[in-house]
């Protein structure tokens, strides 16, 4: 009885709080992500990263005149149909002022081409990396903080070359992200003078990859470059290779960058044997640390792929709203490049109060995010920094920025 009463009391308090919140203005930003679907496991920390930015901003004074930044989640399922539907909902029903997302390149392509570009809503994707997004005819409405595969592919090739690899086998999951990345890698590595002994596409989510790996292992490759999501096929491929004794050394890109790779394969086996490029987290960089400490406190790993990107994309939108001084969609889109690129007062993750003060004083700001400088080029892309990550003595990934 007492318990019920307490619950009632609690509920009514919450209602009251919600009531007051409704009176204060609320500024909605769409948070479009593939919550269900093939990369569901990757999306959870990304959405948490976005939410962390919003929470920090609200705690440090909110947007404009103390308005609350609300992230409206919509599921794009990694499917262009769902991407278009999610975009339509957040743009029209929720009347969001801007969008973070979508997750997969396919869903992003559908959403921006069919909905957000015609509607004049700016969208920053935090994880769509397909080169096709670069050359969209987008009226400067499509941005991304995730570097195009074109950058990461060549960064990984360079890294392999610098570390003495001359012959490599490679395999990629047949999806929009990995196929693109693998293509760039192959061209770049060959251009450096390297040899690809075998390049094999694979279908993700199969139970076993032993036969594919056996085919790849011929011709004396020094290592295997894997382009896959860790959950879809990456871990299975590494496990199959190691268990069958086919490959010992691996190169991979950020779809494979997750603590569960180490947890599931084992730190001892992987130490010295794997290098993963990841979009830009210089772990000593104050920007990254500011994000990482706060994110860790929410119970998520700051190293989760694209979680920091989610944070940065959200923070950038908030800065653009503040800079624009209104919730006008066109003004926000126009302000975005100014707050992201130099010159201006350097703003790091978590420094919302500082940014607000600087903008109020009429100063320019330049956001230096958790994933790097986040300077947008003419296409709305970032060059992105990449780090090379290896397994540290503590059984966690440790990274160094590639210069």
């Amino acid at each position: 009885m007492m318990k019920t009463f307490k619950q009632l009391a609690l509920a009514s308090t919450m209602l009251a709080v919600a009531g007051t919140a409704a009176f204060a203005a609320e500024i909605k930003v769409g948070s479009v992500a593939g919550v269900t679907g093939p990369i569901a496991e990757l999306v959870v920390p990304i959405v948490a990263g976005r939410q962390l930015a919003a929470d920090q901003i609200n705690a440090a004074g909110g947007l404009l005149n103390g308005d609350t930044l609300t992230m409206v989640l919509a599921d794009s399922q990694c499917d262009p149909k769902a991407g278009v539907d999610a975009g339509t909902k957040v743009v029209n029903v929720e009347q969001v002022v801007a969008i973070v997302g979508a997750s997969c390149s396919g869903a992003t392509n559908g959403m921006v081409q069919s909905v957000t570009i015609p509607a004049g809503v700016v969208a920053i994707s935090d994880s769509a990396t397909a080169p096709s997004i670069t050359d969209l005819d987008d009226n400067d409405l499509v941005f991304r903080v995730a570097a195009s595969d074109a950058y990461q592919g060549s960064a990984l090739a360079q890294l392999a070359w610098n570390n003495g690899y001359r012959t490599l086998a490679m395999t990629y999951a047949n999806d929009d992200y990995n196929a693109g990345l693998a293509g760039v890698f192959e061209v770049s590595f060959k251009a450096l003078g390297g040899t690809i002994t075998a390049n094999q596409m694979h279908e993700p989510n199969k139970a076993s990859y032993r036969s594919e790996l056996s085919t790849l292992s011929g011709n004396g490759a020094e290592g295997l470059a894997i382009f896959a999501y860790y959950g879809g096929s990456g871990i299975a491929i590494m496990r199959n290779s190691l268990e069958a004794g086919l490959f010992e050394k691996f190169l991979a890109a950020d779809g494979m960058f997750d603590q569960s790779v180490i947890d599931q394969i084992g730190a001892d086996v992987l130490r010295e044997n794997i290098m993963i490029t990841q979009a830009a987290s210089d772990y000593d960089d104050p920007s990254y640390l500011a994000f990482a400490n706060a994110f860790e406190a929410t119970g998520h790993s700051p190293q989760a792929p694209y979680a920091a990107h989610g944070y940065d994309a959200t923070f950038l939108i908030a800065l653009a709203i503040e800079k624009a001084g209104s919730t006008d969609r066109a003004a926000i889109s126009a302000a975005l490049r100014e707050v992201a690129n130099p010159p201006g007062v350097v703003i790091r993750p978590g420094e919302w109060a500082k940014a607000k003060a600087a903008l109020a004083a009429g100063q320019d700001v330049n956001y230096e995010g958790a994933v790097g400088q986040n300077d947008f080029d003419d296409n709305g892309d970032v060059t992105g920094l990449f780090s090379v990550n290896v397994v540290g003595t503590d059984g966690k990934w440790t990274g160094d920025l590639i210069r």
């Binding site: 919550v35 269900t36 679907g37 093939p38 999306v43 959870v44 959405v47 948490a48 939410q51 409206v72 989640l73 919509a74 599921d75 399922q77 990694c78 499917d79 262009p80 149909k81 769902a82 991407g83 278009v84 539907d85 999610a86 339509t88 909902k89 743009v91 029209n92 029903v93 929720e94 009347q95 997969c104 390149s105 396919g106 869903a107 392509n109 559908g110 081409q113 069919s114 015609p118 509607a119 397909a130 096709s132 969209l136 047949n174 999806d175 929009d176 196929a179 693109g180 596409m201 279908e203």
Partner: protein, 315 residues
């Protein structure tokens, strides 16, 4: 005011999506509702239609086969034809299979088709998809572009409905339902049952191809994920069953209603805070499954039950 306008535009999108799905449910209705063919490979015809129409209508691209620049109506007709031809081939080899077997065979064939579009990268840009698919009236000012898009879709659905109702009441339609009700007696009456079934299958496949093509134009982008069996096959079944299998009005109603539910429930679940909003995405799928169960158990004939032409018993 903005908010009302927003609801209006969202409503148009529901009608457009729902209308495109209605092309799929009407196609399925010919096969399952009228003739009793359990085609579980809707996604296969959908993906064929989508890619054919996309590739024929896009400008030249180095990423995929293209550069034909066909006008949209012509590419849609081509999508229907190619779907129909593939439907004919599928029907030829599998039409004699009964119920479940046909379902599994067509499901397998649909997956093979999807894998083909995913793997033949030179033709289709593989998993990376086809961009810049033209959309009808996209250069008109808002909201006219969206109104006209929805109008085109609904007009096509209306034409299909009209034609199907004509067909249903024609001698051909009567024979079809006779086959479904009692194959033995239809055969005994000298009807070439297999040939009629193939016809129904082909017509249904063509409509599914049209739906796929329309979807590609609406999304302006298509990739193999759009033909995921969950949203391109099973959801269509749910729509038809909820609307009323065998009833063309029911098929259309089911498509628009279920799409609205599928889409609009998220507006409510996304109000939940943080982690709960993510988890509620799973709950949403659970509720859709539960709703299907309740419909099947309590209203097995759907919202608009079939009006049978002959007085006969279901078993």
């Amino acid at each position: 005011m903005d908010q009302l306008y927003g609801y209006f535009l969202y409503g148009l999108s529901l009608l457009t999506f729902g209308g495109i799905y209605a092309m799929l449910t009407l196609g399925l209705n010919i096969q399952l509702g009228f003739t009793g063919l359990f085609n579980a490979g809707i996604a296969g015809f959908f993906v064929v239609g989508a890619y054919v129409s996309a590739i024929l209508s896009t400008a030249e691209s180095e990423r995929h086969l293209g550069g034909f620049d066909w006008p949209i109506p012509a590419s849609l007709v081509a999508a229907m034809l190619v779907s129909a031809v593939i439907g004919w081939a599928v029907a030829r080899i599998s039409i004699r299979l009964r119920a479940d077997y046909l379902a599994i065979a067509t499901l397998g064939i649909a997956e093979i088709l999807r894998l083909t579009f995913k793997n033949e990268t030179d033709l289709t840009n593989g998993a990376r998809g086809v961009s810049y698919i033209p959309k009808p009236y996209e250069n008109m000012p808002e909201p006219w572009n969206q109104i006209l898009m929805a109008a085109v879709v609904l007009a096509i659905v209306a034409v299909l409905y009209f034609l199907l109702e004509r067909a249903r009441k024609s001698p051909w339609g009567r024979v079809m339902s006779a086959i479904r009700e009692n194959e033995g007696s239809a055969r005994a009456a000298g009807k070439d049952v297999d040939r009629l079934r193939v016809q129904a299958f082909v017509v249904g496949a063509a409509m599914m191809g049209l739906g796929g093509g329309m979807m590609a134009h609406y999304l302006k982008f298509i990739d193999p994920n759009a033909a995921d069996p969950t949203t391109a096959t099973f959801l269509v079944f749910v729509m038809l069953i909820v609307g009323g299998s065998g009833n063309n009005k029911g098929a259309i109603l089911g498509a628009i209603l279920m799409w609205t539910i599928w889409s609009a429930t998220e507006i409510f679940t996304s109000m939940l805070p943080g982690d709960l909003a993510i988890r509620s995405a799973y709950v949403r799928v659970f509720l859709i499954g539960l709703m299907l169960q309740i419909m099947l158990q309590k209203f097995p004939d759907g919202l608009l039950p079939e009006k049978r032409l002959q007085s006969s018993d279901s078993r």
